[in-house]
Protein backbone atom coordinates (compact mmCIF):
# COMPACT_ATOMS: atom_id res chain seq x y z
CA UNK A 1 0.00 0.00 0.00
CA UNK A 2 1.31 3.42 -0.87
CA UNK A 3 0.26 5.36 2.21
CA UNK A 4 2.75 7.41 4.15
CA UNK A 5 4.35 5.87 7.21
CA UNK A 6 2.31 7.93 9.63
CA UNK A 7 -0.92 7.03 7.89
CA UNK A 8 0.00 3.34 7.86
CA UNK A 9 0.71 3.44 11.58
CA UNK A 10 -2.55 5.26 12.20
CA UNK A 11 -4.53 2.70 10.23
CA UNK A 12 -2.96 -0.16 12.16
CA UNK A 13 -3.55 1.60 15.47
CA UNK A 14 -7.18 2.19 14.57
CA UNK A 15 -7.70 -1.38 13.31
CA UNK A 16 -6.32 -2.82 16.55
CA UNK A 17 -8.96 -0.88 18.49
CA UNK A 18 -11.72 -3.11 17.14
CA UNK A 19 -10.65 -6.46 18.64
CA UNK A 20 -9.33 -4.58 21.66
CA UNK A 21 -12.73 -3.16 22.46
CA UNK A 22 -14.34 -6.48 21.72
CA UNK A 23 -12.09 -8.12 24.24
CA UNK A 24 -12.82 -5.43 26.81
CA UNK A 25 -16.51 -6.21 26.45
CA UNK A 26 -15.90 -9.97 26.63
CA UNK A 27 -13.84 -9.70 29.81
CA UNK A 28 -15.88 -6.96 31.44
CA UNK A 29 -16.92 -9.12 34.37
CA UNK A 30 -13.47 -10.53 35.02
CA UNK A 31 -11.70 -7.25 35.63
CA UNK A 32 -12.48 -4.05 37.47
CA UNK A 33 -11.57 -0.77 35.82
CA UNK A 34 -11.44 0.95 39.20
CA UNK A 35 -9.04 -1.17 41.17
CA UNK A 36 -6.50 -3.92 40.59
CA UNK A 37 -8.15 -6.05 43.25
CA UNK A 38 -11.00 -8.06 41.73
CA UNK A 39 -14.42 -7.30 43.24
CA UNK A 40 -14.67 -10.86 44.56
CA UNK A 41 -11.60 -10.27 46.73
CA UNK A 42 -12.76 -7.03 48.25
CA UNK A 43 -14.34 -7.13 51.69
CA UNK A 44 -16.55 -4.50 53.26
CA UNK A 45 -15.89 -3.17 56.75
CA UNK A 46 -18.99 -4.98 58.00
CA UNK A 47 -17.71 -8.27 56.60
CA UNK A 48 -14.32 -7.72 58.19
CA UNK A 49 -15.93 -6.98 61.56
CA UNK A 50 -17.97 -10.15 61.26
CA UNK A 51 -14.79 -12.21 60.97
CA UNK A 52 -13.84 -11.19 64.50
CA UNK A 53 -11.01 -13.20 65.95
CA UNK A 54 -10.86 -15.66 63.07
CA UNK A 55 -8.42 -13.70 60.94
CA UNK A 56 -4.87 -12.47 61.14
CA UNK A 57 -4.42 -8.91 59.91
CA UNK A 58 -1.19 -8.15 58.06
CA UNK A 59 -0.51 -4.43 57.91
CA UNK A 60 1.72 -3.63 54.93
CA UNK A 61 1.83 0.10 55.54
CA UNK A 62 4.97 1.98 56.60
CA UNK A 63 5.96 2.04 60.27
CA UNK A 64 4.62 5.55 60.98
CA UNK A 65 1.17 4.64 59.73
CA UNK A 66 1.16 1.43 61.72
CA UNK A 67 2.32 3.23 64.85
CA UNK A 68 -0.32 5.90 64.48
CA UNK A 69 -3.18 3.42 64.36
CA UNK A 70 -3.89 -0.11 63.26
CA UNK A 71 -6.44 -2.88 63.58
CA UNK A 72 -6.14 -4.38 67.08
CA UNK A 73 -4.00 -7.46 66.88
CA UNK A 74 -2.65 -6.64 63.43
CA UNK A 75 0.88 -7.69 62.63
CA UNK A 76 3.11 -5.21 60.83
CA UNK A 77 4.72 -6.60 57.68
CA UNK A 78 5.99 -3.84 55.43
CA UNK A 79 8.53 -3.62 52.62
CA UNK A 80 11.00 -1.47 54.53
CA UNK A 81 11.53 -3.92 57.38
CA UNK A 82 10.47 -7.11 55.65
CA UNK A 83 13.37 -9.25 56.87
CA UNK A 84 12.93 -8.17 60.49
CA UNK A 85 9.17 -8.52 60.56
CA UNK A 86 8.76 -11.77 58.64
CA UNK A 87 9.79 -14.17 61.44
CA UNK A 88 7.27 -12.81 63.91
CA UNK A 89 4.61 -12.90 61.22
CA UNK A 90 5.40 -16.51 60.38
CA UNK A 91 5.18 -17.35 64.08
CA UNK A 92 1.51 -16.44 63.92
CA UNK A 93 0.75 -17.78 60.44
CA UNK A 94 2.19 -20.49 58.23
CA UNK A 95 1.64 -21.13 54.51
CA UNK A 96 -1.10 -23.66 53.95
CA UNK A 97 -3.08 -22.89 57.06
CA UNK A 98 -6.63 -22.09 56.17
CA UNK A 99 -7.40 -18.40 56.35
CA UNK A 100 -10.66 -18.28 54.47
CA UNK A 101 -13.29 -16.31 56.31
CA UNK A 102 -16.11 -17.90 54.38
CA UNK A 103 -15.25 -21.29 55.81
CA UNK A 104 -15.17 -19.74 59.24
CA UNK A 105 -12.05 -21.70 60.21
CA UNK A 106 -9.81 -20.30 62.94
CA UNK A 107 -6.05 -20.08 62.61
CA UNK A 108 -4.15 -22.27 65.07
Amino acid sequence: MKFSLARQALILAALALVPGMGEAVYFRHKISWQSPIPPSELATVAQARAWGENVIWADARPDEDFARDHVPGALSLNEDRWNELLPQFLAAWSPGSCTSATEGSANS
Partner: protein
Protein backbone atom coordinates in the same frame (compact mmCIF):
# COMPACT_ATOMS: atom_id res chain seq x y z
CA UNK B 1 13.00 3.50 -19.53
CA UNK B 2 15.13 0.37 -19.24
CA UNK B 3 18.48 0.17 -17.49
CA UNK B 4 18.92 2.17 -14.26
CA UNK B 5 15.27 2.97 -13.67
CA UNK B 6 14.19 -0.66 -14.08
CA UNK B 7 16.99 -1.76 -11.77
CA UNK B 8 15.88 0.73 -9.15
CA UNK B 9 12.31 -0.49 -9.31
CA UNK B 10 13.48 -4.09 -8.94
CA UNK B 11 15.62 -3.34 -5.91
CA UNK B 12 12.89 -1.49 -4.07
CA UNK B 13 10.02 -3.87 -4.74
CA UNK B 14 11.70 -7.24 -4.34
CA UNK B 15 12.35 -7.81 -0.65
CA UNK B 16 15.77 -9.28 -0.08
CA UNK B 17 15.75 -12.80 1.25
CA UNK B 18 17.73 -12.44 4.51
CA UNK B 19 15.56 -9.54 5.64
CA UNK B 20 12.44 -11.59 4.93
CA UNK B 21 13.68 -14.17 7.39
CA UNK B 22 14.25 -11.49 10.02
CA UNK B 23 10.78 -10.14 9.27
CA UNK B 24 9.18 -13.51 9.81
CA UNK B 25 11.12 -14.24 12.99
CA UNK B 26 10.40 -10.87 14.58
CA UNK B 27 6.78 -11.00 13.47
CA UNK B 28 6.47 -14.50 14.84
CA UNK B 29 7.75 -13.40 18.24
CA UNK B 30 5.33 -10.50 18.40
CA UNK B 31 2.36 -12.55 17.26
CA UNK B 32 3.17 -15.24 19.81
CA UNK B 33 3.63 -12.67 22.59
CA UNK B 34 0.44 -10.89 21.58
CA UNK B 35 -1.57 -14.09 21.48
CA UNK B 36 -0.48 -15.10 24.98
CA UNK B 37 -1.48 -11.70 26.31
CA UNK B 38 -4.82 -11.77 24.51
CA UNK B 39 -5.69 -14.93 26.41
CA UNK B 40 -5.07 -13.40 29.85
CA UNK B 41 -5.63 -9.63 29.85
CA UNK B 42 -6.12 -9.55 33.61
CA UNK B 43 -2.60 -10.87 34.17
CA UNK B 44 -1.22 -8.46 31.57
CA UNK B 45 -3.01 -5.50 33.19
CA UNK B 46 -1.37 -6.44 36.48
CA UNK B 47 2.01 -6.77 34.81
CA UNK B 48 1.68 -3.27 33.32
CA UNK B 49 0.52 -1.94 36.69
CA UNK B 50 3.61 -3.44 38.33
CA UNK B 51 5.78 -0.87 36.58
CA UNK B 52 3.91 1.78 38.59
CA UNK B 53 4.07 4.29 35.75
CA UNK B 54 0.48 4.41 34.53
CA UNK B 55 -2.79 4.67 36.42
CA UNK B 56 -4.75 1.43 36.73
CA UNK B 57 -7.55 2.23 34.21
CA UNK B 58 -4.91 3.03 31.59
CA UNK B 59 -3.17 -0.27 32.37
CA UNK B 60 -6.43 -2.09 31.79
CA UNK B 61 -7.05 -0.28 28.50
CA UNK B 62 -3.54 -1.06 27.27
CA UNK B 63 -3.87 -4.67 28.41
CA UNK B 64 -6.84 -5.04 26.08
CA UNK B 65 -5.37 -3.03 23.23
CA UNK B 66 -1.62 -3.66 22.96
CA UNK B 67 -1.68 -7.40 22.30
CA UNK B 68 -3.94 -6.91 19.28
CA UNK B 69 -1.67 -4.16 18.03
CA UNK B 70 1.27 -6.54 18.33
CA UNK B 71 -0.54 -9.29 16.45
CA UNK B 72 -1.74 -6.94 13.72
CA UNK B 73 1.70 -5.42 13.19
CA UNK B 74 3.27 -8.86 13.21
CA UNK B 75 0.88 -9.96 10.48
CA UNK B 76 1.65 -6.76 8.60
CA UNK B 77 5.33 -7.67 8.72
CA UNK B 78 4.78 -11.16 7.41
CA UNK B 79 2.32 -10.34 4.66
CA UNK B 80 3.90 -6.96 3.84
CA UNK B 81 0.65 -5.19 4.54
CA UNK B 82 1.15 -1.59 5.80
CA UNK B 83 4.71 -2.78 6.30
CA UNK B 84 6.45 0.43 7.21
CA UNK B 85 3.73 1.45 9.64
CA UNK B 86 3.85 -1.95 11.30
CA UNK B 87 7.63 -1.82 11.61
CA UNK B 88 7.52 1.69 13.11
CA UNK B 89 4.88 0.72 15.64
CA UNK B 90 6.77 -2.39 16.73
CA UNK B 91 9.97 -0.37 17.01
CA UNK B 92 8.16 2.24 19.09
CA UNK B 93 6.71 -0.47 21.32
CA UNK B 94 10.15 -1.94 21.95
CA UNK B 95 11.59 1.49 22.70
CA UNK B 96 8.88 2.39 25.17
CA UNK B 97 9.13 -1.01 26.82
CA UNK B 98 12.91 -0.70 27.14
CA UNK B 99 12.52 2.71 28.78
CA UNK B 100 9.91 1.36 31.17
CA UNK B 101 12.14 -1.57 32.05
CA UNK B 102 15.10 0.71 32.72
CA UNK B 103 12.88 2.95 34.86
CA UNK B 104 11.69 -0.04 36.85
CA UNK B 105 15.21 -1.34 37.37
CA UNK B 106 16.45 2.09 38.46
CA UNK B 107 13.61 2.34 40.97
CA UNK B 108 14.45 -1.05 42.35
CA UNK B 109 11.22 -2.73 41.29
CA UNK B 110 11.59 -6.48 41.23
CA UNK B 111 8.97 -7.35 38.64
CA UNK B 112 8.30 -9.74 35.82
CA UNK B 113 8.46 -8.12 32.39
CA UNK B 114 5.11 -9.49 31.29
CA UNK B 115 6.18 -9.86 27.66
CA UNK B 116 5.02 -13.40 27.32
CA UNK B 117 2.44 -13.43 30.04
CA UNK B 118 2.69 -16.19 32.57
CA UNK B 119 5.50 -17.90 30.70
CA UNK B 120 8.02 -15.16 31.41
CA UNK B 121 7.35 -14.79 35.12
CA UNK B 122 10.63 -16.24 36.24
CA UNK B 123 12.93 -14.65 33.72
CA UNK B 124 15.54 -12.31 35.12
CA UNK B 125 16.07 -8.95 33.52
CA UNK B 126 19.64 -9.64 32.46
CA UNK B 127 18.50 -12.85 30.79
CA UNK B 128 15.75 -10.97 29.05
CA UNK B 129 18.09 -8.26 27.81
CA UNK B 130 20.26 -10.89 26.19
Amino acid sequence: MSGPSTLNVQLSTRPQFPWRIVDVIVAGIFIYAGAIKVLDPVQFANDIDNYKILPWPVSVALAFYLPWLEILCGLGLIFRFLYRGALSILTALILVFTLATVAAKVRGLDITCGCFGHASQHWSFPGLTC
